[in-house]
């Protein structure tokens, strides 16, 4: 039940996941400029 409550709205978590994914990608791109 606790998990269902937290996940009640997947949109919030999805947005946070996308935001952090973009940040990690930026970090990767900056760390490996030769691949871009």
């Amino acid at each position: 039940m606790v998990l269902a409550t937290i996940l009640g709205d997947a949109g919030s978590l999805l947005l946070a996941a996308v935001a952090f994914a973009v940040l990690f990608y930026l970090l990767y791109a900056l760390a490996h400029p030769e691949r871009f």
């Binding site: 606790v2 409550t5 937290i6 009640g8 709205d9 949109g11 919030s12 978590l13 947005l15 946070a16 935001a19 952090f20 940040l23 990690f24 930026l26 970090l27 900056l30 760390a31 400029p33």
Partner: protein, 552 residues
């Protein structure tokens, strides 16, 4: 304006300047590993987390740790908020969109609050959820700036330190002890502190960590948070103590204290102009008051017990730092008075700024000033003996324009869409200012608000049946995340690039960065780069309001 008012402002500036080397010296000793009176708690903590304090991280590892720690913090706080309904006797769980905005807000050190603490959060959520992030997010800011300084001054190697160790030391040796002392002091002044109303404890870290999220909706205007003139004065000092002190830490770590004082002088001169403008604007009778036949200073939305000077100074302090605690209604400031907090935030929160974030933001402008000055007088751009080359300048430009872009884009979306306009309560230029302030504040991680801007409706005074507005919560949350972590990743990349560079001794071709000339140059670069970006937006909102005889 009164002599007493100027005296208070002068006294504040004098004490702040005197505190700077004291706080800065202590911070330098803490992060230099010279302070170890809590070693018995530190070592088991590192073992538990599997961290080796002797094994430094390069900038990639450091940035990765910051992001992982912050993402974890977000999930933890979001879970606490969403399960608040399981806590007995509380107001129920806040809706998902508000929980998202609030969790992001506290993890990014913004502490933007669409909600009222007393009707939305339980004491347990405030203590175990929000206050914990007040410590954690402030520690992240301090750790990042220390890593950046290490990169700037490194003589060899690429290591910037260990994120977890820096963050833990920031909490154990700086934030926790100072918060304990400050909370005890607040209790002597009459700030509430009990298990049902844990206000003083939250108040202390709210200010020291430049967080700003109040226990009560009206924040430090409420006597339970801020009862006396002295508590008010100490609150303002607590907000700026660490951001100002860090400039001295920079000077000490750079081995030349004048470097720190130069950055401090640039921040202080911008701050003095802001305070004077705000105090003058609020002391005058506004055009709208003239039209209504009222003469006198603008006391709307201000506490009688604080008056104009203490309210204007607090408003200037809280928006210079990325704190966002308030002791007066920001939306009730006169048109031009309201432009001052916005302008300070629009510099990217570098006028002292947030703990850590203010200094690393200002160091970006230092790099830019060195580069521009170098071009102007034909000298090699160098900082602390390290050559500034193409990669660093590209990253610096990205980092300085990222946040203004986020702010302008989100303000535009919010003002141009039906869902965005649902949050506005005033009309005309004031309605525009509400929107602009909301995204300037969230994008720059300040957290103060023109409170007419709404993202959360509570028809029954509890979370049952309450509705969060999607666009306001999600767009604001995204602006806070981008405004916090884009600059962090970029500034760490710059520190990483500089860490590996050779230090060349200063020669006749070196542009010195510890002189009054450079301070003037730095101030000019901040004003030109940061503020000119926003002048059209300022004209549409606060300036029109300030010139108008109508109330909106």
């Amino acid at each position: 304006m009164t002599a007493g008012g100027w005296l208070e402002i002068g006294l504040f500036l004098a004490i702040l300047t005197a505190l700077t080397p004291v706080v800065g010296g202590y911070l330098a000793r803490v992060f230099g590993g010279e302070v170890a009176f809590l070693g018995f708690a530190e070592r088991p903590l590192y073992r538990l987390m599997g961290v080796d304090p002797e094994h430094g991280q390069d900038w990639r590892g450091y940035a990765r740790s910051v992001l992982i720690f912050s993402a974890g913090s977000f999930l933890l706080l979001y879970a606490i908020l969403r399960t608040q309904g399981l806590q007995p006797g509380g107001p129920g769980a806040p809706p998902p969109n508000l929980s998202f905005n609030t969790a992001v807000s506290f993890v990014t050190n913004t502490n933007w609050q669409y909600y009222a603490g007393e009707t939305t959060m339980t004491a347990l959520t405030q203590m175990a959820g929000l206050a914990v992030q007040n410590f954690a997010s402030a520690a992240v800011g301090i750790a990042v700036v220390i890593a950046v300084i290490r990169g700037l001054v490194a003589r060899s190697g690429r290591e910037l330190g260990v994120f977890f160790v820096d963050a833990a030391r920031a909490i154990l040796y700086v934030l926790l002890p100072l918060s304990l002392l400050l909370a005890a002091f607040f209790v002597t002044q009459g700030v509430a502190q009990s298990t049902h109303l844990p206000v003083a404890s939250q108040e202390a870290i709210k200010l020291l960590g430049t967080n700003g999220g109040g226990f009560f909706n009206v924040n430090s205007a409420f006597p339970f948070e801020n009862p006396t003139w002295l508590s008010n004065f100490v609150q303002m000092l607590a907000i700026l103590a660490i951001p100002a002190g860090l400039t001295a830490t920079y000077g000490r770590m750079a081995g030349n204290r004048r470097q720190g004082w130069a950055v401090f002088a640039a921040m202080l001169s911008l701050f003095v102009v802001a305070v004077a403008a705000l105090y003058a604007a609020e002391s005058a009778t506004t055009p709208a008051m003239h039209a209504a036949g009222v003469v006198g200073p603008n006391m709307e939305g201000k506490e009688q017990r604080f008056g104009i000077a203490s309210s204007a100074l607090y408003a200037a302090v809280t928006t210079a730092a990325s704190c966002g605690a308030v002791n007066a209604a920001m939306e009730s400031l006169s048109g031009l008075g309201g432009a001052v907090p916005m302008a300070q935030m629009m510099t990217g929160e570098v006028i002292f700024g947030g703990v850590g974030s203010g200094l690393y933001g200002m160091l970006l402008f230092v790099l830019l000033a060195v580069f521009v000055a170098g071009l102007m007088v034909g000298r090699t751009p160098e900082l602390l003996g390290k050559k500034i080359e193409a990669r660093e300048i590209k990253l610096t430009v990205l980092a300085t324009i990222a946040v203004p872009l986020v702010v302008l884009f989100s303000s535009a979306v919010a003002i141009a869409t039906k869902h965005g306009r649902a949050s506005i309560s005033a009309s005309g230029p004031q309605g525009f200012s509400e929107t602009l302030y909301a995204y300037v504040s969230q994008g720059n991680n300040n957290g103060s608000a023109f409170a007419g801007y709404t993202g959360f409706l509570q028809p029954h005074g509890t979370n049952r049946g309450a509705v969060g507005l999607d666009l306001a919560n999600y767009l604001g949350g995204a602006a806070m995340l981008a405004g916090r972590f884009l600059p962090i990743v970029l500034v760490l990349a710059i520190a990483g690039a500089l860490a590996g560079k050779r230090v060349s001794p200063a020669g006749p071709g070196t542009l010195r960065t510890d002189t009054p000339t450079f301070v003037v140059m730095l101030v000019a670069v901040v004003l030109i780069v940061a503020l000119l970006t926003f002048v059209p937006a300022l004209l549409l909102g606060p300036v029109v309001q300030g010139l108008s005889g109508r109330l909106f």
